[in-house]
């Protein structure tokens, strides 16, 4: 397997704050790699260094075979970036934004127009093509952002939290687009805070915490160490809790919140079976909720401490 991106010993500090503390990554060409981590873990900084926006303090980063420090122009020619920090031109229309990208990629007028029209169609923006971006919804803007990245036909695409703040439908659309790109042989480097997103899309995941890679592997390898989903039953009184615990067996009891946690995959069949086992005791249940492992669980399982708090994120935003 050839590598699209190799990172060795990457370090970066902003002032006295260490953001990246020696990270190593390897991304195979034509695969999807996900950098998973909470706010403030250093995900965006990593992408900014790989996309030539920020210089590293130490270590080596090679993208598409070129060193980002020594030959940034060659790296830029191979990549596309869509993310939190990149943006669209709000004062232009969607179509004008795409034509601007076509001009900057030195496409001929006719080719640029064809490319723009094709992308507007593909990203479901044809109806809004002549409207200024200020009138777009968050999902439309994100789609336009990615469409602009695709004008130059990049072989490596960086997506920095591409679905943060999107509604579920837009999120699904974005996922499908990413899968289509990979099917065309594009390498995707994706950062996300959501375990299910990395799980759904990535061939390999690296877990970033406080500027260090704390775990790496395929989604299956990582999930092996994580507690499974469970169903949570909440009761109004201790009597119900006692009865249900006897009926189920093997459930984990929380005395203070009057809840029982029952290991389960959380699917409808499993929940129905669980309620059947409760029988009449089910009437004593106030609330049934299904809990699937999220980033917090992964962090707790793999690092033994909860994910970094929002305070760190604010620290980074202040810089």
């Amino acid at each position: 397997m050839t590598s699209a991106i190799t990172v060795t010993g990457l370090r970066k500090s902003f002032g006295s704050k260490v953001v990246l503390d020696g990270i190593d990554l390897e991304v195979g060409a034509g695969t999807t790699f996900s950098l998973l981590g909470p706010n403030g873990a250093g995900k965006t900084t990593t992408v900014q260094i790989m996309s030539t926006l920020v210089r590293a303090d130490g270590g080596e980063v090679r993208v598409a075979g070129h060193d980002v420090a020594r030959n940034p122009a060659a790296v830029r020619a191979a990549i596309g970036v869509t993310g939190q920090f990149s943006a669209v031109d709000n004062l232009l229309t969607g179509e004008e934004n795409l034509l601007l990208m076509a001009d900057l990629h030195h496409l001929s007028r006719a080719r640029g127009r064809r490319r723009a029209a094709g992308l507007l169609e593909k990203f479901d923006l044809a109806d809004a093509a002549r409207k200024t971006v200020t009138t777009y919804s968050g999902g439309m803007r994100r789609r336009l952002d990615l469409a602009m990245t695709l004008v130059g036909d990049p072989r490596i695409i960086f997506l920095d939290e591409p679905t943060t703040g999107l509604d579920p439908r837009s999120r699904r659309m974005m996922w499908q687009t990413i899968r289509d790109l990979v099917a065309d042989g594009v390498t995707i480097f994706l950062t996300t805070q959501q375990l299910d997103e990395a799980d759904a899309l990535a061939d390999h995941i690296a877990l970033l915490d406080h500027g260090k890679v704390v775990a790496a592997g395929t989604p299956e390898e990582l999930k092996r160490g994580i507690p499974g989903a469970h169903v949570r039953l909440r009761f109004a009184a201790v009597a119900g809790l006692d009865a249900a615990e006897r009926a189920l067996g093997g459930a984990f009891r929380h005395e203070d919140t009057l809840t029982l946690e029952v290991p389960s995959d959380g699917g409808a069949t499993a929940v129905r079976a669980l309620l059947n086992r409760l029988g009449d005791t089910a009437d004593a249940v106030d609330e049934v909720s299904v809990h699937t492992p999220d980033l917090d669980d992964v962090f707790f399982a793999l690092t033994g401490h909860p994910a970094a708090k929002a305070a760190d994120e604010e620290m980074e935003n202040v810089r």
Partner: protein
């Protein structure tokens, strides 16, 4: 494609983009003409009437005196619009996108500067047109008009290159208020409305030595026939110096890491 043709092509694309912004929101252009014209009316109507009532100067003579200052204020107003538009690009992140693309890096700022030059010179031309409508009678011949255009373009270039680093450096639009205040207020303490030798003490010294005064004096000389070669040289030197300083500072800011 050579580096130079690449730079020219990308700069042209970026200039088209900026000009499209101007045409999409023509109100910016209208305001950049209306504000100086309001000032012109204010000064000739209020201040000029006061001076003519004191017998110091006739109304039409004062109008002729004030117009060069108004031209400079139009250029100053234009530069604050430029700073805002660069700041918007910088804070909204489109400059970050441009910097990850295989384009001529210089084109990003060049596009802004070239379109700012075109936009501001158009505003100045409109302001001069309105002044003539109000009774301003310049005595310049074609050669002097050309010199007026040259000096004005140089001034706009200087103020624009000064606006660029301020636009890049400010983290929010509010952070620009210092720059806007300085470029818009400085002309008031110059030879724009009153000859500095009629001012008192340190204000007089400041007004006589600040960069806007030689530019205004040069324009006044060219437009109404009292050209002073020495002043013109000082004006050109100031403009080139300011443009160069702004350009170098902008280059440093543009290349620095994006740490926000």
């Amino acid at each position: 494609m050579t580096t130079l043709t690449l730079a020219a092509r990308d700069s042209a694309t970026m200039t088209r983009r900026s000009l499209r912004h101007v045409m999409r929101y023509p109100v910016t252009l209208v305001v950049s003409v209306v504000v100086p014209v309001m000032l012109l009316l204010l000064f000739t109507g209020v201040f000029g009437s006061l001076r003519s009532s004191l017998g110091a100067v006739s109304h039409s003579a004062y109008l002729a005196y004030v117009v060069p200052g108004i031209i400079v204020m139009t250029a100053a107003y234009g530069s604050s619009v430029t700073a805002q538009s660069i700041n918007r690009d910088s804070t909204e992140g489109i400059i970050a996108r441009f910097r990850t693309m295989a384009i001529s890096p210089a084109s990003v700022l060049n596009g802004h500067v070239i379109s700012a030059l075109a936009r501001t010179l158009l505003s100045v031309a409109l302001v001069i047109g309105v002044s003539i409508g109000l009774g301003f009678r310049p005595t310049a011949d074609a050669g002097r008009w050309l010199a007026v255009a040259g000096v004005t373009a140089l001034l706009v270039l200087a103020l624009t290159w000064l606006a660029v680093p301020f636009g890049l450096a400010a983290k929010t639009a509010e952070g620009l208020s210092g720059f806007v205040l300085i470029v818009q207020l400085l002309p008031f303490i110059s030879s724009a409305f009153v000859p500095p030798d009629q001012m008192s003490g340190s204000v007089r010294w400041f007004a006589a030595h600040q960069p806007f005064t030689p530019v205004i004096d040069t324009l006044r000389g060219l437009l109404t026939g009292t050209a002073d070669g020495g002043t013109a040289l000082v004006a050109v030197a100031w403009c080139i110096g300011i443009a160069l300083a702004g350009y170098l500072w902008a280059r440093v800011l543009f290349r620095r890491d994006l740490s926000r």
